[in-house]
């Protein structure tokens, strides 16, 4: 178990910068998820921690020790790859014991370690099989088993569930979380799937274009996204965004179509500033036509089973609203939606930074 400190890490391929100075402190035993769209640099950062990519500038410390110039083998970390990367010419048992054999661990200790890991992961019956005789989920388990037999300082996960189908992914997600609870190991997990990030993380690091956008607990990011990127990335269905103009007299925000949203207190921005208003679909109450609220025409109805996603058009923009009610609402109906001011996220239209 160890802490990992990342200071001013930069990475560029030739003249192209990929990471623009990342600072991050990961505490002992913490489960941190790096989340962002593909190409945001999250995998590169993970690979730099593992020692698979050179560090252009900055410093990485594992357990207080600078590891910039250490070979991957000397960093004492384990990694689970998206492709699993099992050694195809070795059995499951050999795959899991390879790292211990390289370290010349005593045979009895190797046997104990792999049988412990195998029973933890339900692999006992498969130990003599080759990877090609395993299903996707079993391969995934072997890859995790290979990581845990070593009891490393930290676990790195590079999109480990991306190759699994939806149901298996959900199941393995639960298993990874359980595993972390029982081992308590420092873990860094890279994913582009915000649901994995929300469910697994102690802390989420949201990244975009090589820059950390926000670091916080899953609920922090959900409740108070620091900018438009995080607001749009976290949450499903995605947050509604529409533009308005701030009027200090009131204070109100004027939305297209003449609607005015009164604010409880003034914002720290100049009168006339363009504001992007965000509200999550699940925070928009939907009422029948004629009830209080903004009348809106239903354009699309998406039942999810749990509830229904309505695409409605109260003013210029289309707004998605999620409702648990199963009232038969059809395309073309008119409903009344409300935009509760305490649920609104307000962002500067120019910089995208949160202003509320």
């Amino acid at each position: 178990m160890a802490s990992i400190d990342i200071a001013e890490i930069r990475k560029s391929y030739g003249p192209v910068p990929v990471l623009h100075g990342i600072d991050l402190s990961i505490h002992d035993g913490e489960f941190v998820v790096l989340v962002g769209p593909s190409g945001c640099g999250k995998s590169t950062l993970l690979r730099m921690i593992a020692g698979l990519e050179d560090i252009s500038a900055g410093e990485i410390r594992i357990d207080g020790r600078r590891v910039n110039d250490l070979e991957p083998k000397d960093r004492d970390i384990a990694m689970v790859f998206q492709s699993y990367a099992l050694y195809p010419h070795m059995t499951v048992a050999e795959n899991m014991s390879y790292s211990l054999r390289l370290r010349r661990t005593a045979k009895e200790r190797i046997a104990a370690a792999i049988s412990g890991a195998a029973s933890k992961l339900g692999l006992d019956a498969l130990m003599e099989r080759r990877p090609r005789a395993l299903s996707g989920g079993q391969r995934q388990r072997v890859a995790m088993g290979r990581a845990i037999v070593r009891a490393p300082k930290a676990f790195l996960f590079d999109e480990p569930l991306s190759n699994l189908d939806a149901r298996l992914r959900e199941q393995m997600r639960g298993e990874i979380k359980k595993l972390h609870q029982s081992l308590g190991a420092t873990s860094i997990y890279v994913t582009h799937d915000q649901i994995e990030a929300m469910t697994l993380a102690d802390r989420i690091v949201a990244m975009n274009s090589g820059v950390v956008q926000q670091v916080g607990s899953p609920l922090d990011l959900y409740d108070r996204p620091a900018n438009l990127f995080v607001a749009g990335f976290i949450g499903s269905p995605a947050m509604n965004m529409f533009d308005g103009t701030y009027r200090a007299s009131g204070p109100v925000i004027e939305v297209e179509g003449g609607h005015r949203i009164s604010l409880p207190s003034a914002l720290q921005v100049a009168d006339g500033t363009r504001i992007t208003i965000g509200i999550r679909p699940e925070h928009i109450p939907v009422g029948r036509a004629g009830e209080s609220g903004i009348p809106a025409k239903v354009e699309l109805v998406e039942p999810t089973g749990l509830g229904t996603i309505l695409h409605v058009r109260p003013f210029g923009a289309t707004v998605k609203a999620f409702t648990l009610s199963r009232d038969a609402t059809a395309v073309g109906d008119t409903v009344a939606i409300r935009l509760p001011v305490e649920r609104l996220h307000l962002f500067d239209g120019q910089s995208g930074q949160r202003v509320s």
Binding site: L52, P72, K73, M79, S83, Y84, P88, Y98, L102
Partner: protein
Amino acid sequence: MTRPKRIIGTVAHRGAILLYIVFALFPLYWLLKVSVTPNDLLYSEGVRLWPSRTSIEHYLFVLEHSDFPRFFRNSVIVSGATAFIVTILASCAGYALSRFTFRGKYWIVALMLLTQMFPLVMLVAPIFKMLSPLGLTNSLTGLVIVYVAFNVPFATFLMQSFFDGIPKDLEEAAMIDGATRFRAFSQIILPLTLPGIAATLGFVFTAAWSELLFALMLISSAGASTFPVGLLSFVSKFSVDFGQMMAAGVLALIPACLFFLFIQRYLVQGLTAGAVKG
């Protein structure tokens, strides 16, 4: 497709394959046929698929009274050494080209391709000029050096393509597991490249085994001749000893066949199945 149509299609398909196999194997068959035909029947019986009487006299003569065993031994040494050295060099070079980016990589690849562009005949004279003062003409070592030089570029590209087919993740996983890059290469990547190594060994071995031009130009003594050159010794000024020549040819096929028999199980692809999600 209807049933009769399908049957016709299958028959045509199989027929075409059969035709090709007959076409490809017929020269080998003729080699064998002539090698067992006694001299007195060779010209007297006309063209027949099998002689009325067979004998192994040519084989006995070739083995007991000609220089053929020595040619044979020379060929085994030259081809074996060439295949071995080329495969080692090509494995290392192919791995480097597949995995690393380094300064001058582009130019090295371009130069290697350039060497493949010239007809070998053009290079015989300069190579003779270079090897002669070094005392490497008339020597098996000289021949091995030349063969290695000519076979390394193609073998490197061949090995590179095999390494390209092996996911990088595997050696990265090994390196994180505690292996050095060399250990990851030798314990994880090489075993998975066995089909590629077998293919390269086989390719280079047969290329060296049947090479005539350089063997003929660089070697003048019978003591250092390889078997393709030796075959020519059955051609004399006034006659060609077809029976003995063919018998020698059949014997020369044996090591190549054995070699492929030995490596064929590695040529079967699919060793990497299951490593990563396909």
